[in-house]
């Protein structure tokens, strides 16, 4: 089927989307330098900056979370492709308010390569940067390096951003981010493909009656292709895998995020979330905080990501701290 998207052409896709994004949130963000997304009002001097990078086409991820209490600068790449090291370096210089910069990287080959190169260049310049790689997709297997970074970036941005905002040092911010990341697990399921907006090609194929658990953010193949199940069956299956991997016990507090991939309706996401709540109550696990919505998408892909994170009182406090970004507000 031919691609049906409201675009003007593949060449200027990213710059046009960034322009519109910035114009629609003029009080929160602005475009700076070489298409970097930065806070409209920079953070006070002496506080740690938080920077991230990632391909475009996943809106509102990742630049939708630039603003007070979360990210200072985001470096958007081309469609589904990491930005290069030179722009990341520019972002780090921009975010450095004298207390160093925390660089949050989602574990995807291109992003990691760019980030490593950026760290080399930053060190040459004597910049104070620490890097954290998020890898919480349990479909990657037991080796952490094979686990991709999915929606688990959100709590990491949130707690690290809150810590930075209250004036924690770079080492403290890194420790908090790492603690959050270690306690987060995500699993994705896909039911329909997305079209790559620049090539107009579907990024994977799935049978009409099939779903695939473990599908990546770009349609990278997962491992569990099966006949389509109901919302409850799918939620149970995925939640069981997540709880087992994180080794969650009765009495613990969880943050749960159900993230729509782009074409799956809020109606469906709520039905899934409701089942998660039921199963957790039954097991005596507390759903301390929850979020349902689209935080990172893949065009019109159908499916969702289910994320769980073990929370302690400190992480809950940082999660609840105020933030004001285009697509995540806590007041």
């Amino acid at each position: 089927m031919a691609m049906k998207k409201f675009i003007n052409g593949p060449e200027n896709l990213v710059s046009e989307l960034l322009e519109g994004f910035a114009l629609s949130h003029p009080h929160k963000i602005r475009l700076v330098g070489n298409n970097l997304v930065a806070r409209a009002k920079p953070k006070a001097a002496g506080k740690v900056g938080v920077v991230t990078l990632g391909g475009s086409g996943h809106e509102p991820g990742l630049s939708g979370f630039v603003g007070q209490g979360m990210l200072d600068v985001s470096v958007p790449g081309e469609i589904f492709a990491a930005p290069g090291a030179p722009r990341c370096l520019e972002a780090i210089r921009l975010a450095d308010r004298g207390a160093g910069v925390l660089f949050v990287v989602l574990n995807h080959s291109g992003d990691v390569l760019s980030a490593n190169m950026t760290m080399t260049l930053a060190q040459r310049e004597g910049l104070n940067v620490r890097k954290i790689v998020t890898h919480e997709d349990i479909a990657g297997g037991s080796n952490p390096e094979d686990r991709r970074g999915l929606v688990g970036f959100l709590p990491v941005y949130k707690v690290a951003g809150a810590a930075a905002e209250r004036g924690d040092s770079l080492e403290e911010c890194l420790k908090i981010a790492e603690g959050m990341e270690r306690n987060t697990r995500t699993l994705a399921v896909a039911v329909t493909t997305a079209t790559h907006p620049a090539t107009a090609q579907p990024i994977f194929t799935l049978g009409d009656d099939e779903m695939e658990i473990g599908m990546g953010q770009h349609g990278e193949a997962g491992t569990g292709r099966m006949k389509l199940k109901t919302a409850d069956e799918t939620a149970e299956l995925m939640l069981e895998m997540l709880l087992k991997d994180l080794d969650v016990r009765a009495g613990e507090d969880l943050l749960v995020i159900v993230n729509g991939a782009g074409a799956t309706t809020l109606m469906e996401l709520f039905i899934v979330f409701r089942r998660v709540h039921q199963v957790l109550s039954h097991k005596g696990i507390r759903l301390a905080r929850g979020k349902v919505g689209e935080f990172i998408t893949t065009q019109e892909q159908g499916g969702f990501q289910m994320m769980i994170a073990r929370m302690d009182p400190e992480l809950i406090r940082l999660w609840d701290a105020p933030c004001d970004t285009p697509y995540f507000v806590i007041c």
């Binding site: 492709a81 990491a82 290069g84 090291a85 291109g110 760019s114 090539t199 990024i203 770009h218 349609g219």
Partner: protein, 211 residues
């Protein structure tokens, strides 16, 4: 030479994206076009160019073309190649060519642990550079060296059909990647083919070829 390489990549853009769609998101062709435009821009001069400066500039431009893993790796390669080249050189003899390309290979190896056999661009790049060194040691001309390097890259790219991916997004597909060439290796083979063709067109007068 960059123009000839860019022409081949442009002609094969569709095939490269097709190869990438087996395990990736099917945009390798357009990514490579951005990379080749960056390379062409760095070498776009009718005047003789200082190769060290040009390759460093090219590496930086490629890295900045936002082409994900490909632009980080190829950017590191050309930057390393430039940094490894002799200063004030406007043309390389065969040994200098091999020295520079080997420096590029080391730079890319500092960024990725992918080895020969992992079904990545390394499967085309490493044999091509090895061929350059062998040709240099045998006292061959730059024409012949680039010709054998292009052949080695092509054979290397072809062998990726029989491999299972161990790196990048493709590794998650495992055996499903069998029977398909790695898109990155195919691109590297095309680049070397372009270099070799451009040199051949100078009919034995390699020093007249423009990078």
């Amino acid at each position: 030479m960059m123009q000839a390489a860019a022409r081949l990549i442009r002609e094969q853009q569709g095939r490269l994206s097709q190869l990438d769609s087996v395990a990736g998101d099917g945009d390798h062709g357009s990514t490579m076009m951005r990379i080749m435009r960056s390379l062409e821009a760095a070498f776009n001069s009718d005047m003789p160019i200082e190769l060290r400066k040009c390759f460093c500039d090219a590496g930086w431009k490629v890295m900045n073309s936002d082409g994900g893993a490909s632009s980080s790796l190829l950017g590191a390669f050309f930057l390393g190649l430039g940094e490894g080249a002799r200063e004030q050189a406007w043309w390389w003899d065969c040994t200098e060519l091999a020295d520079a390309f080997e420096a590029g290979l080391r730079a890319i190896q500092a960024q990725t642990r992918a080895k020969i056999g992992d079904k990545t661009l390394m499967d085309a790049l490493a044999p091509a550079i090895e061929a350059l060194r062998t040709a240099a040691n045998a006292g061959q001309s730059v024409d012949d060296a680039l010709h054998t390097a292009a052949e080695a890259a092509q054979v290397g790219a072809k062998t990726t059909e029989t491999m299972i991916a161990h790196y990048g997004r493709a590794r998650l597909l495992g055996e499903k990647t069998l029977g398909h060439q790695d898109a990155g290796a195919a691109s590297v083979a095309l680049m070397f083919q372009g270099f070799s063709q451009a040199i051949a067109e100078t009919k034995g007068n390699a020093a007249h070829a423009r990078w």
